[in-house]
């Protein structure tokens, strides 16, 4: 029996990535990191800023996301996100820029608790990448 399932990552502009030979995906879900294997129960969840790791037959890939939704159903994993970057392709400068923007945001006085939590998460992840 094969242990593979399909993943599709879409952003508003285009279909970002589509793969059929995925064995495991680790997503930064809202309430903690979540590993998804084949025949996982149908689930919908949010993403917080973090790293999506895709283990596939053709190799391992890592992506940085800032937000999004994951849906898993019938061995199809869909990730909808508005900001995603392939860690291999992203430049150092871009990461610095994102970090800077996030740090500015967290220091704003009118920020509410939830978005502060998310921004702090973002900073942590970005720092670990730099």
């Amino acid at each position: 029996m094969s242990e593979e399932f399909k993943i599709e990552i879409v952003n508003p502009e285009k279909s970002f990535l589509s793969k059929e030979d995925v064995t495991e995906v680790i997503v930064p879900a809202f309430e903690g990191e979540m590993g998804i294997l084949k025949d996982h129960i149908s689930i919908i969840s949010f993403l917080k800023p973090g790293i999506i790791t895709i283990h596939a037959k053709s190799g391992e890939e890592k992506f940085y996301v800032e937000d999004g939704i994951v849906e898993f159903k019938n061995n199809n994993l869909s990730v909808l996100t508005s900001s995603i970057f392939n860690l291999k392709e992203i430049e150092k400068g871009k990461l610095q820029d994102l970090l800077k923007a996030a740090e500015e945001e967290t220091n704003k006085p009118e920020i509410n608790d939830q978005s502060k939590y998310l921004v702090d998460q973002k900073i942590e992840v970005l720092k670990s990448l730099n």
Binding site: E13, S45, L80
Partner: protein, 291 residues
């Protein structure tokens, strides 16, 4: 009858107009291809988003506690219409079609005694609506500076709408845009986005129950605003593809008309030239005869 010089001048001016319309047609054709591509690429996202929302909302047990963006405010008094048009003219009936659709909707609302509020996106719509509905326009947004439709702009529009919704400034929100069918056909659309229309989509409903993390309501209340910006973004993409398509066919027509005009004027020019020559000959001959 116009003199030869006048005719010559007119022919040159029509020819240069033709050159301009031809160039505009080519530019529109190139842009159309890009716009069409991005409209097609954007479809999976909005479709997926829609599916997830449908699955979620069919799973919600208690309609009463559902977020207001989904179920509405319970009243249907104030209608907000978001009219999305282009920022540039010279695109045939593109803007006029949207405005026509919107105006007939406004008239219907008026006859039902509902209150109307308008947000215009794109400056052409504002220009056309402000004459009759000027006092109803509460906000005008224009993206003259951004080259292509992008998600960031859509989010800006969405923010404005949601802010107004939270202040209870309206109950129902509808967006107007042109759906791109092909280069010569664009269909003006009215789409209700608040409260979300969940009925006519039975095919996508699944019987599976989902596990949610965090719970359904929190997901929904986070997802719905996103869905609105997605829908607006979709409308923007469709609109920009339609705009280029409409401009292309309008400019094609203009080029053809200019060509016909040049032909007609050239014939007229040649005839009067011939007439002048004949007249001169007659004068010479009759002059010679009288000697």
């Amino acid at each position: 009858m116009a003199s030869l010089d006048d005719l010559k001048k007119r022919i040159t001016s029509v020819k240069s107009t033709q050159k301009i319309t031809k160039a505009m047609k080519m530019v529109a054709a190139a842009k159309l291809k890009r716009a069409q591509e991005s409209a097609e690429k954007g479809r999976p996202y909005s479709k997926k988003m829609n599916n997830i929302i449908l699955n979620l909302s069919s799973g919600i047990s208690d309609k009463e506690s559902a977020p207001k963006l989904l179920s509405g405010t319970g009243k249907e008094k104030i209608y907000l219409c978001v009219v999305m048009t282009s920022d540039r003219g010279l695109c045939g009936g593109f803007n006029a079609n949207i405005i026509k659709k919107a105006k007939s909707y406004f008239a219907k609302l008026d006859s039902e005694g509902k209150e109307l509020k308008i947000i215009t996106v794109g400056s052409k719509g504002k220009d056309q609506l402000k004459r009759v509905y000027g006092h109803k326009i509460i906000e005008s947004i224009s993206f003259k500076n951004s080259k292509n439709a992008n998600y960031f702009d859509a989010e800006k529009v969405c923010k404005v709408i949601i802010e107004k919704f939270e202040k209870e400034e309206f109950d129902v929100c509808t967006i107007f845009y042109n759906q791109f069918k092909n280069v010569i056909t664009q269909i003006p659309q009215a789409q209700q986005i608040i409260p979300l229309n969940t009925e006519n989509n039975d095919e996508n409903k699944s019987e599976d129950s989902y596990e949610f993390e965090p719970d359904e309501e929190e997901i929904l209340s986070n997802l719905l605003p996103k869905n609105i910006s997605t829908q607006i973004f979709k409308a923007m993409l469709e609109n920009s593809a339609s705009e280029q398509g409409a401009r292309m066919s309008a400019m094609d027509n203009a080029t053809r008309n200019a060509g016909e005009m040049v032909d007609k004027l050239t014939i007229q020019y040649n005839r009067s030239r011939q007439a002048a020559i004949t007249k001169e000959l007659i004068e010479i001959i009759s002059g010679a005869e009288s000697l």
